[in-house]
């Protein structure tokens, strides 16, 4: 009974349904682990004082006859997803005292299912980064080696799941923010098809890229969470009905090997090749695939990221809510509130976004980036007429040392494999594919599978073979 926090969601649901354990017991096991490990890992920014009460409510709902696979399952929630009445800071000082006034649609769905919210998890401020080092509240550490990053931007959620401080978690993925920390922490992370999961109640980073997604210990668990949060929502006009394709005979995997020519660590590539061999043994066919515009993906991604970040974050002005600093005049009020409220990386991206959207530069940067995005999308659509899945390593290397990537451009280059799915809107999953040894620690690395729009089923089917 002492290891209830280590259960998968699927296993916990089975045991609760059989009356062998209660939500209170599982929740208490998670809380005990949080008490033990969170002070050093810094995965949770806040643990909700009423978690045990929520679990009692879930147990009472079960006693009254309700059943749902997520009923009574304790989850960790990223700090940029609104839960009514609770703080949601997006790990920023500018929202440090912000209390959510409504539930995000994904939260409303999880509440209906009866999930328990353990707390809110650390992240890169406003989901800008890839290591959770850009949090205003300090970095999250990797459970496998505490001198290393947990990945990001959903680093707190991934570390919480990996360390047994939650059975599963929600993150958000703008350019890999679910998949990157899943790879670094050895767990499963899904970025759903753009529009499949409502963005209502998410703190906006890059609206044309953002998607909430599950972080879990197993592929089955990720699928359960995905099924619970997806669906068209009148509160998000970009949301679409999940096509829920269930045909699972998707057996052809394309590999864009040209992309691996530089920058990928050899040991990661070796793990990747052995993962492909494993899939081949299960009946999958592996072929090369050409995606010429991939070489522009990272540049196009960052231009669009900067542009949308600078416009989305214009709403934080210290007038209606959030950090408010008084200056000499109105301009000064804005500039001081924003200068002090935003962290260094956020300020840098706002500046870059302002630049690429300026008259005179717009066509050369934003215009070209959207053209590259359209071309890439077309190339992916045509690739998915001949292959069912596209496979790459999720990250070119394992988790790096905290502080190692102080040059912002060096950190951006780590996102080479993950940004594409956000540019094209395709669903992508990261699944553990093994470990590589660094300084005496076995560090997890993940394989990323991408599928055609709406074909999460193909991702789950292949990922279950890993």
């Amino acid at each position: 009974m002492s290891d209830l926090n280590k259960l998968s969601i699927t296993e916990a649901a089975k045991q609760m349904a059989a009356g062998e354990v209660t939500s209170v017991q599982i929740t208490e096991a998670c809380l005990a682990e949080i008490e033990k490990r969170n002070p050093s890992l810094n995965a949770y920014l806040e643990v909700f004082a009423d978690a045990r009460e929520q679990a009692q409510t879930a147990d009472a709902r079960r006693a009254a006859g309700e059943s749902h696979p997520l009923l009574g399952i304790p989850l960790a929630i990223k700090d940029n997803i609104l839960i009514e009445g609770r703080h949601a800071s997006a790990a920023s000082k500018i929202l440090g005292n912000y209390v959510a006034t409504y539930d995000a649609t994904v939260i409303a769905k999880l509440k209906k299912a009866g999930a328990v919210f353990l707390g809110r998890t650390n992240m890169d401020e406003f989901a800008l980064g890839g290591s959770t080092e850009n949090s205003a509240f300090g970095p999250t550490k990797n459970p496998y080696d505490e001198s290393r990053v947990a990945g990001g931007t959903s680093g707190g959620s991934a570390a919480a799941v990996a360390a047994g401080m939650a059975l599963g978690a929600l993150g958000t993925d703008t350019g890999g923010s679910v998949r990157n920390p899943a790879s670094f922490c050895g767990v499963v992370g899904l970025k759903p098809t753009y529009g499949t999961v409502s963005r209502s109640g998410l703190v906006a980073a890059v609206s044309s890229f953002d998607q909430a997604g599950p972080i879990a210990k197993t592929v089955e668990d990720a699928e359960l969470l995905f099924d619970a949060i997806c669906g068209k929502d009148p509160l998000d006009s970009t949301s679409i009905e999940n096509s829920k394709l269930k045909i699972e005979n998707y057996k052809k995997i394309g590999v864009p090997r040209k992309l691996f020519e530089k920058g990928v660590e050899p040991e990661v590539l070796a793990q990747f090749e052995s993962a492909l061999t494993k899939l081949q043994a299960k009946g999958y066919e592996v072929v090369d695939v050409e995606l010429p515009s991939l070489s522009y993906a990272l540049a196009a991604y960052y231009i669009i990221n900067f542009a949308e970040v600078s416009t989305n974050l214009a709403r934080f002005d210290g007038v209606r809510y959030g950090l408010s600093q008084k200056g000499e005049n109105l301009f000064d009020d804005y500039a001081r509130s924003r200068g002090e409220g935003f962290g260094a990386e956020t300020r840098r991206r706002i500046m870059l976004g302002t630049y690429v959207l300026s008259a005179g530069y717009y066509d050369a940067y934003y215009g070209k980036a959207t053209a590259a995005r359209a071309q890439l999308r077309k190339e992916f659509e045509s690739a998915f007429t001949s292959v069912d899945l596209i496979a790459t390593p999720t990250m070119p290397y394992p988790a790096w040392k905290i502080g190692e990537k102080s040059d912002p451009l060096a950190a951006y280059l780590a996102d080479i494999f993950t940004v594409t799915a956000n540019l094209t809107g395709n669903p992508a999953i990261s699944v553990p594919m093994g470990t590589v040894l660094r300084d005496g620690a076995d560090l997890p690395v993940g394989i990323q599978l991408t599928a055609a729009h709406g074909n999460e089923a193909a991702l789950f089917a292949a990922a279950k073979q890993m």
């Binding site: 912000y98 209390v99 006034t101 409504y102 529009g195 209502s200 109640g201 009148p234 509160l235 970009t238 679409i240 515009s293 522009y296 540049a299 196009a300 960052y302 231009i303 600078s310 214009a314 002005d317 007038v319 209606r320 809510y321 959030g322 408010s324 200056g327 005049n329 109105l330 000064d332 009020d333 804005y334 500039a335 924003r338 200068g339 002090e340 935003f342 260094a344 300020r347 840098r348 500046m351 870059l352 976004g353 302002t354 630049y355 050369a364 940067y365 070209k368 980036a369 959207t370 053209a371 590259a372 995005r373 359209a374 071309q375 999308r377 077309k378 659509e381 040059d407 912002p408 451009l409």
Partner: protein, 104 residues
């Protein structure tokens, strides 16, 4: 490298107060990053666009009637919560600075 004046102008446009040290480091960072992302200049403008062609059959205008809806009006009954977030409050009002000011 991007000039100090350009960085200061961007900071003004973006309403950000920056320290001198940050202005200097941004000159370097912005230049490096722009040099990298500038490789998109080789992308053709003649290709497909995001709002054109059958490849985006899923993209269409989303319209609805402009009527109040109780069922999904997430802010209904939350007025006091919104007011309590005001940085400076008098009664039910948010106190803001006078917008029209004399030029200094």
């Amino acid at each position: 490298m991007i000039s100090k004046e350009e960085v200061l102008n961007l900071a003004t446009l973006a309403r950000l107060k920056l320290s001198d040290a940050e202005v200097a480091s941004l000159q370097k960072d912005i230049s490096n990053i722009l040099e990298y992302v500038g490789q998109v200049s080789a992308v053709s403008n003649q290709g497909p666009t995001l709002d054109q062609g059958s490849s985006r059959s899923d993209l269409k205008n989303v319209m609805r009637e402009d009527v109040p809806r109780a069922t999904d009006n997430v802010m209904a009954g939350k007025e006091e919560v919104l007011r309590s977030a005001f940085p400076k409050r008098e009664g039910d009002f948010n106190v803001v600075r006078k917008i029209i000011q004399k030029d200094e």
